[in-house]
Subunit: 489 residues, 2 copies
Amino acid sequence: MLSEIEPARKIDRDEYKEAERELRWQLLQAQFALQRKGRALLLVISGIEGAGKGSLVQRLGEWLDPRGIRTNTYWLHSDEEESRPYFWRFWRRMPPRGEIAVFLGSWYSGVLQGSIDRPHEERLQAAAGRINFFEDMLNADGAFVVKLWLQLDKEEQVRQLEERAGKQQNPRVTDRPYEIHGHYDRHVEVASQLLRATSTECAPWHVIDASRRRHRELQAGRILLAAMQAELGHSANTPQPVAFTPATDTARLDAVDLTQKLGRGKYKRELRDLQSRLQDLAWEAYREERSVVAVFEGWDAAGKGSAIRRVTHAIDPRLYHLVRIAAPTDEEQRHHYLWRFWRQIERDGRGTLFDRSWYGRVLVERVEGFATEQEWQRAYDEINEFEAQLVEHGSIVLKFWLHISPREQLARFRAREEELHKRHKITEEDWRNRDKWPQYALAVEDMLEHTDTPHAPWTLVAADDKPWARTFILRRFCEAFEAALGVPR
Amino acid sequence: MLSEIEPARKIDRDEYKEAERELRWQLLQAQFALQRKGRALLLVISGIEGAGKGSLVQRLGEWLDPRGIRTNTYWLHSDEEESRPYFWRFWRRMPPRGEIAVFLGSWYSGVLQGSIDRPHEERLQAAAGRINFFEDMLNADGAFVVKLWLQLDKEEQVRQLEERAGKQQNPRVTDRPYEIHGHYDRHVEVASQLLRATSTECAPWHVIDASRRRHRELQAGRILLAAMQAELGHSANTPQPVAFTPATDTARLDAVDLTQKLGRGKYKRELRDLQSRLQDLAWEAYREERSVVAVFEGWDAAGKGSAIRRVTHAIDPRLYHLVRIAAPTDEEQRHHYLWRFWRQIERDGRGTLFDRSWYGRVLVERVEGFATEQEWQRAYDEINEFEAQLVEHGSIVLKFWLHISPREQLARFRAREEELHKRHKITEEDWRNRDKWPQYALAVEDMLEHTDTPHAPWTLVAADDKPWARTFILRRFCEAFEAALGVPR
């Protein structure tokens, strides 16, 4: 892939100026049009060391309108980044709809560097799969990815690096140019593999001979322009038919034994014991730098809030962050829906507890029609991938569905209306949701069917009896910690 | 201050339950009322080690509605925090209007710990002054701060810490309880000083004898409730008259010699030399971990954008972040106006360049009436304090006002209308702003008068001749770097 590229042409100053003028004008028009359409653009600039990636980024930044562009560089990492799943660092820099993010260093950097240091074909293919999923997902959401690879041949790389060695420059380049050069062949081999594996229909790689500045800049500008114009020709969110057969019964929910109960005396003892056990385990997880991500979903009035309080009561407040999911802010609405969950993920050693979560996409957003059919249907895979990344990073993922009977819900709604300090918890909306019980039940069944994965299984909680539900959840927490930490019970 | 506290009373279970029920209900009402009024609450929980701060935070979290509360803990710092001015870590966790942020560990922690380790009366007073300014500023913006200090006497602290020593706990406590105890007297002395110095009218400290859990919780709840209710009684933004005499002439602007020019040949040479010098200096600043914060303000069409490009062209894109200030997002609107600038500040060793900035508060927001008189008048001090914090942290602060004559502006507006790829840069609004030239000029004079500080001086740039302006700015950049880095020219 890197050997058959069009060689750089010598371009004189006047030709360059003329072409630049025209290109610049067209790029601006395309940028404004994309802004109006609310399409986000991710521009990945990658390539071999010494090829002039930095100066290309500067040039493109001059051509485009700097309002609505942000350049993101990944060359030194922060501990905040390193103590979260790898893609967190990119999610935090996702461009909002209508804006452009330039990535100098990107989700390709890690796998490239890793594979040069220690080649491993399978790992590279797995990483490529993850990357393709990521880019496809953004694409389906109305963003698009343009990827440029700047290439130099062996002799040219030496020449470029030597020329710069005298100047003060990126120490990563100047401190070890020959070392990099020594790896030239392997670098090219690995990069070829990776580019082949990640050149997809929606986000192909474009390879540019970077040996001449003017050629490199005009080529990059033209490729970018063509990609923008092609994107403007498409309608957003091309419907991608997903083969999906919705649930017709609620067998999994029906199988929950709602008669399970715990007596008051036993409850008090168990609660105390479990909370004390969880307290210690949370500190142990902190020391072992393991994080937990816990999702609480369930029917209205199923007791999510009070169950969460029993959990948080056991954990030092320094060790967890509780996130209540309400309506998204407008910054959140300008991003892929997973963005607002990614941004909440805590660092290693700490917990993030979600009172409602990303599953809203396939529950309330589906039932109420806030998400299109394509959107909620592709969300199952997106969610599974998100959780897989958490687990792969070392997080413990727990997901609870608190199940109650319609009868019990009715009783609780009425009780809330009668109790002064609970009255705020019951609204018209709760009654409306209750009327849609059957639709929600089917959505829950589909959710269980598609997201009950081996790495992040669902725990169905019989919650008609609150003491039973609370201790059940606490026990699951403890067991998950014990298993992950190798603590003997 | 810590010796004359009301001793904890023994409260039996029934009395506690009864009081809790009532308190909880009232706290919820107050919370909802504050939400409706859009008032943010910062609750600082501080005190001596072993006093049960963590468990108090949990209890308050149970009493209040967890929607709209976030608990922030500061006990381990991240490198992202440590490579920015101290208050950045608090600004990033400011509650939006209508919400509550609990701070376990806060802006008091640093000075307290520092003063216990190495007492220094003057430093403590200076830190207290900074804190008071911070809290007053939030208060003026409609937020309010409630501060609780949990105190134990010497014997009780030993008892509490020994009791916990068996359990797995916060390693900071359990690993060295006696060491802390050994410092008891000094801790109390320093804390007393600090509490006295920071007990202001708008945010007094409340000290609680923490030796009995029920007493501690009810006391804390009642103090919080009283503060919330008092705040609900006030109208937001109590007008604080500021003695302010607006400028009546434009002497400083008029003194700029707009006839200064640079010929084309000289410009090219100087530009190349300055950019090459700046490139090296930016890398040197990176190695020395010094950051630069540069503000570009000026008349419409004064050439801010193209001057910035001459600067960024010289700096590796890995080393700076360019921020174009446009309309605030709604997340930004729900915070103090400085929040959206704080959130952009880059880490040590890198630059943050602002194309328009926080000075909008005293320019466009003043002239167009987007900010009230009190708001823009107090902004001068707020801005000076913000910049002082940057400088104290080690950042190089540069502020440029690009000055042109009304005649030159008119010529440039007309030229923009004629040039295809510049036409998007001229709008109706630009013409409207031009009509308000005299009002803007007076606002600029006031800005220069009040924010041209020794630590962060303004640089007035004669910008009728673009080559002159660009090289002038680049030279100022280089000189500021050289002075800060001790690089001989």
